[in-house]
């Protein structure tokens, strides 16, 4: 499984100084998000200002890495040909426990039992030499 993704020639994250702590944490298998010290909302993706209150007082905190499935898709013909060799694969939107929603790659055997609100959790995967926060079903 690990090699399957690591050998892909696919575009990795275009990191900025502001987002670097997120990717550095992921590389250590930690899931960190920004939290606003003024309005206390969690923020994703990383920003210089809180989109809720425009405070620039954002701090990095360890987050649960857990969330629920909002929607999903099985990709047969990828938008980037680097993904061709692992088709079909699933992507989905995960609403994190902390509030924000993120796009991710779903590590699933089949899409047949997927439903809205199915619990998922982060599962780190190395893809083209970069650790990424993929998601798998939570084990109940």
């Amino acid at each position: 499984m690990l090699d399957k993704f690591n050998n892909l020639k696919v575009p990795g994250p275009t990191m900025t100084l502001i987002s670097k702590p997120f990717w550095d944490a992921v590389a250590k298998h930690e899931f960190q998000l920004q939290k606003c010290s003024d309005c206390h909302k969690w923020v994703f993706y990383p920003r210089g200002h809180c989109p809720e209150c425009w405070s620039d007082n954002l701090i990095w905190e360890i987050a649960s890495g857990k969330g629920r499935l909002k929607t999903w898709s099985v990709v047969h013909k990828p938008g980037h040909s680097g993904w061709d060799e692992v088709t079909p694969y699933a992507i989905g939107l995960i609403e994190l426990e902390e509030g924000p929603t993120m796009m991710s790659h779903l590590l699933i055997e089949s899409d047949e039992d997927l439903i809205i609100d199915l619990p998922f959790e982060v599962s780190y995967m190395k893809c083209n030499d970069v650790w990424l926060p993929f998601f798998k079903k939570q084990i109940s």
Binding site: T71, S73, V86, S104, I116, C127, V130, F134
Partner: protein, 391 residues
């Protein structure tokens, strides 16, 4: 009700359109812009010297900056107002009210709104040079391109409302059916039944190939003047009666809702401005990059309850002679999508219908039309109410 209608400020007095084609050979975007601009100014019965305002779209790869100046220079015009409208598929619709606003502010009198794109065989369009959040937080997971975003939206609709593949396929079927009356359409001569749509290859589940627009080369243009100036011309003007626009997000992951769209605001704002009801529309010219976009537009327009577009569609007929004429030119699903000019095709068709010039597919007594445009991932939308002179 009609006595309360706002006095229209501006009108479209000329249209130009190139037949879409799969590929161009050696053409340039600027050359194609000149071609459709000429068609539009001729249709308006004006000389090019009359153009004193210019609205263009972004041109990835060819002219990344200074687009209005580059286009003005190429066309040999010296406009008093120039701008880029950058709203994806909503660019054409967004141009119309911006042209009207510029004219109404006294900046200019006659605005050329123009979009065109080349498409060379064996030469893919340049990959987006994005270095922004969608590139950093969507693309690395295998979610490149529009198909995946719209598949996620369609899947949520199906999971939440139990809408069916057959219901969505009906939208593609009607687009193909209407395209049979438009010789310019890329799928002219190629109708598709609901079963054909369902049997077309699954591209990004739950979207089939026939539910996704075909990218083509093409161009379109229209000329806008003040309503006062429009009345003195020979060409029947088509008036802008109302407009609404809204931008909510960029990436699908950041969308405030996966089942309702900014159309809910934009359509109702456009109808309010025009002081008309959706039930009064003679034509629905609805942006249709994917079947599911039409579905949610019908729902957000209030034509049916959320999730119930399929039931509603089965009760109505969508040809030029139907009770709800919808995308009588075939929509982009039947006509093809010449990049940003694809969105403009919905305006061009509405003008044709309201001028009663839609040969072979004319809606009887067409007076009012709703036009929509949508960009990114149902993120940036514009709605327009257009009216014939008879209003």
């Amino acid at each position: 009700m009609s006595n309360k209608r706002r006095v229209p400020l501006c009108a479209i007095v000329g249209i130009g359109e190139m037949a879409p084609k799969r590929f161009t050979e050696g053409a340039t975007t600027l050359g194609m812009i000149a071609e459709v601009a000429k068609l539009a100014i001729q249709d308006a019965g004006l000389e090019k010297e009359a153009i004193d305002g210019l609205l263009v779209g972004p041109q990835v790869g060819e002219t990344p900056q200074h687009v209005p100046a580059t286009v003005a220079e190429y066309l040999g015009i010296q406009p008093k107002m120039g701008n880029v409208v950058d709203l994806g598929g909503s660019t054409g619709a967004g141009m119309l009210w911006r042209a009207a606003a510029a004219i109404n502010f006294g900046m200019c009198e006659t605005v050329l709104c123009v979009l065109a794109n080349t498409r060379e065989r064996d030469k893919l369009p340049p990959r987006s040079p994005n270095r922004n959040p969608i590139r950093e937080f969507d693309v690395p997971f295998g979610a490149s391109g529009a198909n995946t975003s719209y598949a996620l939206l369609k899947q949520r609709h199906m999971a939440e409302f139990s809408s069916t593949q057959e219901e969505f396929a009906l939208i593609a079927h009607w687009a193909r059916k209407n395209a049979q009356l438009n010789e310019k359409a890329i799928f002219y001569g190629k109708p598709a039944s609901v079963l054909d749509v369902l049997n077309s290859p699954m591209i990004v589940d739950p979207l089939h190939l026939y539910e996704i627009v075909m990218p083509v080369a093409g161009g379109a243009a229209f000329i806008v003047t003040s309503a006062k100036a429009a009345r003195s011309k020979g060409t029947p003007p088509v008036y802008l009666l109302g407009a609404g626009e809204k931008i909510t997000h960029r990436a699908v992951s950041q969308s405030p809702s996966l089942t309702t769209t900014p159309f809910k605001y934009a359509i109702s704002a456009a109808l309010d401005q025009a002081n008309v009801d959706i039930q009064e529309m003679d034509l629905l010219s609805l942006y249709d990059c994917y079947t599911s976009v039409v579905a949610v537009t019908l729902e957000d327009a209030g034509l049916c309850l959320p999730g119930k577009f399929g039931t509603w569609m089965k009760e109505h007929s969508f040809g030029y002679d139907g009770d709800w004429p919808l995308n009588t030119h075939g929509g982009q699903l039947g006509y093809g999508q010449p990049d940003l000019a694809g969105g403009m095709s919905h305006i061009i068709e509405a003008v044709r219908q309201l001028r009663h010039e839609a040969n072979g597919r004319q809606i009887p007594n067409a007076r009012l039309g709703l036009v929509t445009g949508n960009g990114a991932t149902l993120s940036e939308v514009t709605a327009l109410v257009l009216g014939a002179e008879s209003c």
